[in-house]
Amino acid sequence: MEAIMLQGIPQRTAHHKVGALVALAKEQNITLAELSDQDFLKVDPNFVGKSLRKSLGVQGAVESYRSLGSSGPEFVAEQIALWKNKL
C-alpha cells in the first residue's frame, strides 16, 4: 500500500485499491505478488505490476521500513549496536 502511496496516491484511496487487489488475489487463491499485470491494471490503469511486485512479500516489506524505531534492517542493526554498547 505504501508503495502506491509513494506514487502520490492518498492513504485512504490506496487502502481501498489494495483492498481490491487483495480481493482479486483471494478470488484466485494466490498471493498479491502472483497477481497478473492485467489484474493490477484492472484495479488502477496506473499500476504497473512489475514495479509494485518488488515491495510485495515479507522480505520486501521489511526492507522498505524506513522510519526511526521501525523494523527496517538498518534501524534494527543500529539498535542492536546501541544495546551492545550499553550493556
Binding site: 522480505q59 516489506a61 523494523s71 534494527v76 544495546w83 550493556l87
Partner: protein, 322 residues
C-alpha cells in the same frame, strides 16, 4: 502468653530473612553509641563481635527460632543478652523496634532491588544474544491477534529490551527513595539521647536522612513502590511468557522450547508442556496481588490496631507503641 496468641502474632517465620540487615543496623547503631560515649569502646567491640557470631550461628542454623520471641529483632537481642548480660541490654538504647524494623526493611529491600536489577540485566543480555542468533528471521507482528505486518525477529527481542530497560530505570528511581535512613526516629517522637543520625546513615550506606520521626514510624511507601515496580516487571514477564507459550504451540510453531525447561504429560506422551513459561505467568499473579495487599494495608494504618499485620511489616502511627 497464650500459645495460640503467640502463634497468631509471631512474625519470625518470615522476618527471619532480615537477620543480616538487622545485625548490620545494630552494629552501626552500637558504633554510633560508642562514639557518643553512650557505650564504651570495649562494650561496642564486645557487642560487635557477639552480633557477628550470632549472624554466623543463624547462617549455620544453630540458633533455633521460637515463636515466643516473636520476631527477628528479639531473637538476636535475646541471644546477645544471653551472651553478654547487661552489655547486651545496652544495645537497644535510643532506638525503638519501630525505627529498627524500618531500617532493616529498607536495607533488605535495597539489596533485593539491586539483585532484581542484576537479573534483569542478564535477561536483557539473553534477548540481545538472540538478535544475532535470529539474524534475518522475519516474523509476523500481530494486532488484534491478526497478522498485521512482517517484522524482523530481532525487532521483537529489542521490544523486550525496551520494556526491561524501563523496569530497570524504575528500579533505580525507586531505590533512591528506599535509600533514606529512618534509624534514630525512635518510637515516634525522636529521642533525648545524644545520637548521631548522620553517622549511622553513612555507616549503612543511606543516601539521605528521613526528616520527620512521625513519618518514619508509619512510612512504608518505599515498600509499596518497590512492589509496584516488581509488579510491572512481573507484568512484562507474564506477557512475554504468554507470547512464547502461544508461539511454541504446534499451531504457531515459531519456536521450539528446550526440553530441559518443559515437562511431559502423564497421559499424553506426545505433549511437551511449557511449564516454565506457564509458571512465570502464574507467579506474576501473586506479585500483582501483593501490591493490592500492601496498598490496602497501608491505607488502614490509622484506623486499624497499631500492631501491623504481619507484625513489623507495616507500622501504624499511633500513640500506642511498643
Amino acid at each position: 502468653m497464650d500459645q495460640s496468641l503467640a502463634r497468631f502474632s509471631e512474625s519470625i517465620s518470615f522476618d527471619h530473612r532480615l537477620y543480616k540487615h538487622d545485625i548490620r543496623g545494630s552494629i552501626a547503631h552500637a558504633r554510633m553509641l560508642a562514639k557518643e560515649g553512650i557505650l564504651t569502646d570495649p562494650e561496642f567491640l564486645q557487642i560487635e563481635r557477639e552480633l557477628l557470631s550470632i549472624q554466623d550461628r543463624i547462617e549455620r542454623q544453630e540458633l533455633p527460632f521460637r515463636i515466643e520471641l516473636e520476631d527477628i529483632h528479639m531473637h538476636i537481642e535475646q541471644a546477645l543478652i544471653d551472651a553478654l548480660g547487661d552489655v547486651g541490654r545496652k544495645l537497644h538504647t535510643a532506638r525503638s523496634r519501630n525505627d529498627q524494623i524500618a531500617t532493616d526493611l529498607r536495607l533488605w529491600v535495597r539489596d533485593q532491588l539491586d539483585h532484581v536489577d542484576e537479573l534483569l540485566e542478564q535477561l536483557q543480555r539473553a534477548f540481545l544474544s538472540r538478535c544475532d542468533l535470529d539474524h534475518g528471521v522475519i516474523l509476523p507482528a500481530y494486532t488484534h491477534m491478526q497478522r498485521a505486518q512482517p517484522v524482523l525477529a530481532a525487532h521483537y527481542w529489542l521490544a523486550y529490551m525496551e520494556k526491561l530497560q524501563r523496569d530497570r530505570s524504575r528500579l533505580a528511581d525507586c531505590r533512591r527513595r528506599v535509600n533514606c535512613c529512618p534509624l534514630g526516629g525512635a518510637a515516634v517522637a525522636g529521642t533525648s539521647m545524644p545520637i548521631d543520625r548522620q553517622m549511622t546513615a553513612q555507616l549503612l550506606g543511606f543516601e539521605t536522612l528521613a526528616a520527620n520521626s512521625i513519618d518514619i514510624s508509619s512510612d512504608r511507601d518505599f515498600a509499596v513502590e518497590s512492589v509496584f515496580v516488581l509488579s510491572m516487571i512481573a507484568t512484562h514477564l507474564s506477557g512475554w511468557a504468554e507470547e512464547w507459550i502461544l508461539w511454541s504451540t504446534t499451531e504457531f510453531g515459531f519456536l521450539k522450547l528446550p526440553q530441559a525447561f518443559c515437562t511431559g504429560s502423564s497421559i499424553m506422551p506426545q505433549k511437551v508442556n511449557p511449564d516454565t513459561l506457564e509458571l512465570t505467568r502464574g507467579k506474576s499473579a501473586r506479585v500483582i496481588g501483593n501490591l493490592q495487599t500492601l496498598l490496602f494495608r497501608l491505607s488502614k494504618a490509622l484506623s486499624s490496631r497499631p500492631r501491623p499485620s504481619p507484625k513489623g511489616s507495616i507500622k501504624a502511627t499511633s500513640m500506642r507503641q511498643r
